[in-house]
C-alpha cells in the first residue's frame, strides 16, 4: 500500500514539478524600499511555540516535527508541490533558496540554520514527491533543507491550527473538494528553543530582513550553546 502510494505520488510530483520549475522562476519578491534594521538593534519577542506532530521525510518512518524545529534557527513554511501562484509557494521556495545561499556565505549564520518545507497536501505530496520537489536542495547537506509531509490530513490539521496557518480546499463545479489549496503564505522563523520569533507573509517576505532577524537571534544565543542543526531522528 505504502509502496503504491509512494510510486504514484512520486509520479504525480514529477508531473507537477514541470510547471513548478517555471512557476519558481516567476516568483516575485515583495518590493523593499528600505534598509533592513541592523542585527541586534531590535528585539524579536517570542510570539508562540512551534507546533508539534508526526511528519515524514524521505520515507514512511514517522518523525516528530519538534526534531525539525528545535536546536537551530529554523525557517519553516507550508507549501504544496503543484502550487503555481507566483506570490505563494514558489515565492517561499525562491526566498528559501536565496536565504540558503546567503546563510552559507555568512560565517555568523553558517551551520546554525535549517530550512523546512512542510506540505499542505499529504494526499498528493508523499515523502518521495517532496523529495523530488526539493531536488538538489533535499539532498544537499551543506545547509539542511527538509522537505516534509504527513500521513494524512488528520495528522496535518492540528499542526496547521497550532501554527495559525490557514488553508482551504478549492471546490470543483459540482461542489466536491479539488486539489488546489488556497492559503496565506506564511513563513515562520523559529529560535533554537522552538519558539516562533517572526512570521512573514507575502508583503513582508524580504530576504534582507529575514537574514538580519536570523543574525539578531544568533547574537542572542552566542552566549549559549552554538546552534547546530541535528540530523532528525525519531
Amino acid at each position: 500500500m505504502m509502496r503504491w502510494r509512494g510510486a504514484v505520488g512520486g509520479l504525480l510530483a514529477l508531473v507537477a514539478s514541470v510547471p513548478l520549475a517555471h512557476a519558481q522562476l516567476q516568483a516575485q519578491a515583495p518590493r523593499q524600499d528600505f534598509v533592513a534594521p541592523a542585527p541586534g538593534s531590535y528585539a524579536l519577542p517570542p510570539i508562540q511555540s512551534a507546533a508539534d506532530g508526526w511528519v515524514l521525510e524521505g520515507n514512511w518512518l514517522p518523525r516528530r516535527l519538534s526534531r525539525y524545529t528545535h536546536g537551530a534557527l529554523t525557517l519553516l513554511s507550508f507549501v504544496y508541490t503543484y502550487c503555481s501562484d507566483p506570490i505563494g509557494c514558489p515565492l517561499a521556495y525562491a526566498t528559501f533558496d536565496t536565504v540558503k545561499h546567503r546563510v552559507l556565505a555568512d560565517p555568523a549564520l553558517r551551520g546554525r540554520v535549517r530550512l523546512v518545507s512542510l506540505s499542505f497536501d499529504p494526499g498528493n505530496d508523499t515523502p518521495a514527491a517532496m523529495r523530488v520537489y526539493g531536488g538538489d536542495n533535499a539532498r544537499n547537506t551543506e545547509l539542511p533543507w527538509h522537505f516534509l509531509t504527513t500521513y494524512s490530513t488528520a495528522r496535518l490539521k492540528p499542526i496547521l491550527d497550532d501554527f495559525g496557518q490557514d488553508v482551504e480546499v478549492e471546490l470543483d463545479a459540482s461542489g466536491a473538494p479539488g486539489r488546489v489549496r488556497t492559503h496565506m503564505l506564511k513563513v515562520f522563523l523559529l529560535d533554537r528553543q522552538g519558539r516562533v520569533r517572526e512570521i512573514y507573509s507575502t508583503a513582508f517576505l524580504h530576504p534582507d530582513v529575514i537574514l538580519n532577524d536570523m543574525r539578531t537571534l544568533a547574537l542572542e544565543s552566542t552566549r549559549q550553546t552554538p546552534d547546530t542543526p541535528r540530523p532528525p531522528t525519531r
Binding site: 516575485q28 519578491a29 515583495p30 518590493r31 523593499q32 524600499d33 528600505f34 533592513a36 534594521p37 538593534s41 531590535y42 528585539a43 519577542p45 517570542p46 510570539i47 508562540q48 502550487c83 503555481s84 501562484d85 506570490i87 505563494g88 499542505f120 490530513t153 488528520a154 496535518l156 490539521k157 496547521l160 495559525g164 490557514d166 488553508v167 482551504e168 480546499v169 478549492e170 471546490l171 461542489g175 466536491a176 473538494p177 488546489v180 489549496r181 488556497t182 492559503h183 496565506m184 503564505l185 506564511k186 515562520f188 516562533v196 512570521i199 512573514y200 507573509s201 507575502t202 508583503a203 513582508f204 530582513v209
Partner: protein, 446 residues
C-alpha cells in the same frame, strides 16, 4: 523582479485560485485595513458587521455585534440577520480582522474588554470565541481602539493609560491566540526625534517602506466625558493629541514625530502603485494632512486642505480612501455631512461633493470598487447628540461618481439594537471548503 505594496494587495485580492479566494478579504472599508490581512472583498460584500453600543432601556441594553445582509440578490437584503450580545455596556468602538480574516477583534474603550468573533466559519452567524479581560492589567494601557493585523499577530493601539486616564498610551501586540507578546509606549518628549505627546489613536503600515504611522486622540477622562461639558472645559480641551509618529516597523521604534495640531485621527495610505504618502484628518482643526516622503526620502507632514468651516467645528471623524488613491470620503459628525475630496493631487485635495447623510454621522466605509458607501451614526456614547438628533442608523448608498443614492437604511433604535458604530465587511466562500471538511459541508449554500 519585485512587486509593490499595492501589487501584493492587489494580487491577493484578485486571487484567482491559489493564494486566496475570490471572496472575503481585507481593508475595513475595503481600502483601509492592514496590508497583512488577506482575502479582500473585491466584489460584492455580502454582510456588514456593525459593532453596536448597547443603550440602557433599549432592547437588551447590551453591546452587540449586529450582522446585516448587504447582498442585493438576497431575500434578506438590507435586513438585520443576526445579533450577538456580549453582555454589558463598555463603550464598544472599533474592530479589526486577523491576518487570515477569519476572526474579528472588537474592543470596548471603557471596560477594556476585547472580544474575538469567529466570522470565518459562517459570516452570517458570527460566534464569540474569546474574550480578553486583562488588557489593562497586562499592558497598563486603557481603551483598546485600533485593531491592526500583522502576520500571526494583532496590534492594538490604545487611547489611554491606567495610571491617570490621560492620553499617554501605547501599542500592545498579541498573537492570534490572544496572548500578549509585547508593549510599546508612544513617544513622549523624545527630543531627538521631534518630541511626542505620548498620545495614540490609529495605525497605518506601508510594508515596502517598513513604515508605521500613528496618530493621536485623547484619554479616557475626555472620551468618557459628556461632549457639551468637555467643550466648555478649557483645561480638558488642552488634553488632545497634536502629533503623528513615524515608526521603524521592524524595530518597533519611533523615528520621527510630526506636529499635527487638533487630534489627527484615521490614517489611510495610498494603495496606488509606488505612492509614498498617507493622509489623515484632524478632528478639532478640520484639516487634511499629508504625510509624504520628500525628494531626499525624509518623511514630512503638511496641512493640505480644509474640511468645511473649521470655525464651526464640523468634527471630521472618519475618512475612507478609494482603492486607486484618487478620492477620499470624509464624514463630519456635527453637520451630518458626507464629503468627497478629489485626491488626484494629494498635495492639494479639493472637495467636489457633499451630502447630508444624517443628523450625526461617524464611520464611512466603501466597497473596493467604490460603488457602495456605508454610513453609521454613533461617535461615542457620551458624545452623540441628544433628543431628536440622536438618530442611530446604518445607511447604504450607491455612488455613481456624481451622487450618493440611498439603497437601504437600518434604524438601530427602531429595531432596539443600540448605537451603530464601526463596520466591517465579510462574504461567504462559495468555492472553497475547510481542509478535511465533509463534502456535504463543502458545498456552497448561498
Amino acid at each position: 523582479m519585485t512587486i509593490s505594496f499595492k501589487q501584493v494587495c492587489g494580487t491577493v485580492i484578485a486571487v484567482t485560485s491559489f493564494c486566496a479566494v475570490p471572496l472575503g478579504e481585507a481593508f475595513a472599508d475595503e481600502t483601509c485595513n492592514s496590508p497583512y490581512t488577506s482575502r479582500l472583498i473585491k466584489g460584492q460584500e455580502q454582510f456588514l458587521h456593525v459593532w453596536t453600543l448597547g443603550v440602557k432601556g433599549i432592547g437588551d441594553g447590551s453591546d452587540k455585534l449586529v450582522t446585516v445582509d448587504s447582498d442585493p440578490v438576497s431575500k434578506t437584503y438590507g435586513k438585520v440577520i443576526h445579533t450577538l450580545s456580549v453582555g454589558g455596556r463598555g463603550e464598544a468602538h472599533h474592530m479589526g480582522f486577523t491576518d487570515d480574516r477569519k476572526y474579528l477583534w472588537a474592543g470596548r474603550l471603557d471596560d477594556n474588554k476585547i472580544f474575538v468573533f469567529d466570522v470565518g466559519s459562517d459570516p452570517a452567524k458570527p460566534k464569540l470565541v474569546n474574550t480578553i479581560k486583562d488588557f489593562e492589567q497586562k499592558t497598563t494601557y486603557v481603551g483598546p481602539h485600533t485593531f491592526y493585523a500583522l502576520p500571526g499577530r494583532m496590534m492594538v493601539q490604545a487611547l489611554s493609560n491606567a495610571k491617570d486616564h490621560g492620553g499617554a498610551t501605547g501599542i500592545a501586540v498579541y498573537n492570534n491566540q490572544g496572548k500578549l507578546v509585547s508593549t510599546h509606549d508612544m513617544p513622549k518628549g523624545m527630543k531627538d526625534i521631534g518630541g511626542g505627546d505620548g498620545y495614540g489613536y490609529d495605525i497605518g503600515i506601508n510594508p515596502q517602506k517598513n513604515a508605521m504611522l500613528t496618530s493621536s486622540f485623547t484619554g479616557w477622562t475626555n472620551y468618557m466625558m459628556d461632549l457639551g461639558t468637555l467643550i466648555k472645559d478649557g483645561s480638558a480641551m488642552k488634553n488632545f493629541g497634536s502629533t503623528m509618529t513615524m515608526w521603524d516597523l521592524k524595530a518597533m521604534k519611533p523615528t520621527k514625530v510630526f506636529e499635527v495640531p487638533g487630534a489627527p485621527l484615521e490614517i489611510r495610505w495610498s494603495l496606488s502603485g509606488s505612492d509614498n504618502w498617507a493622509i489623515t484628518a484632524t478632528a478639532l482643526t478640520s484639516k487634511l494632512w499629508l504625510v509624504k516622503q520628500d525628494a531626499t526620502g525624509q518623511w514630512q507632514a503638511k496641512d493640505v486642505a480644509t474640511i468645511g468651516d473649521p470655525a464651526k467645528i464640523p468634527l471630521p471623524v472618519d475618512i475612507s480612501i478609494t482603492a486607486d488613491g484618487k478620492g477620499l470620503w470624509v464624514n463630519t459628525f456635527m453637520d451630518g455631512k458626507t464629503r468627497y475630496f478629489d485626491l488626484s493631487n494629494p498635495e492639494a485635495p479639493k472637495q467636489t461633493y457633499e451630502k447630508v447623510t444624517g443628523k450625526q454621522v461617524n464611520m464611512v466605509s466603501q466597497s473596493w470598487d467604490g460603488k457602495r458607501v456605508y454610513i453609521t451614526s454613533s461617535l461615542l456614547a457620551n458624545w452623540d447628540k441628544k433628543g431628536a438628533d440622536d438618530e442611530q442608523a446604518l445607511r447604504a448608498y450607491g455612488w455613481d461618481g456624481k451622487e450618493l443614492k440611498q439603497v437601504f437604511e437600518v434604524d438601530f433604535y427602531k429595531l432596539k439594537l443600540g448605537r451603530a458604530h464601526h463596520m466591517k465587511f465579510s462574504a461567504r466562500s462559495g468555492s472553497t471548503a475547510s481542509l478535511g471538511a465533509p463534502e456535504r459541508v463543502a458545498v456552497a449554500t448561498r
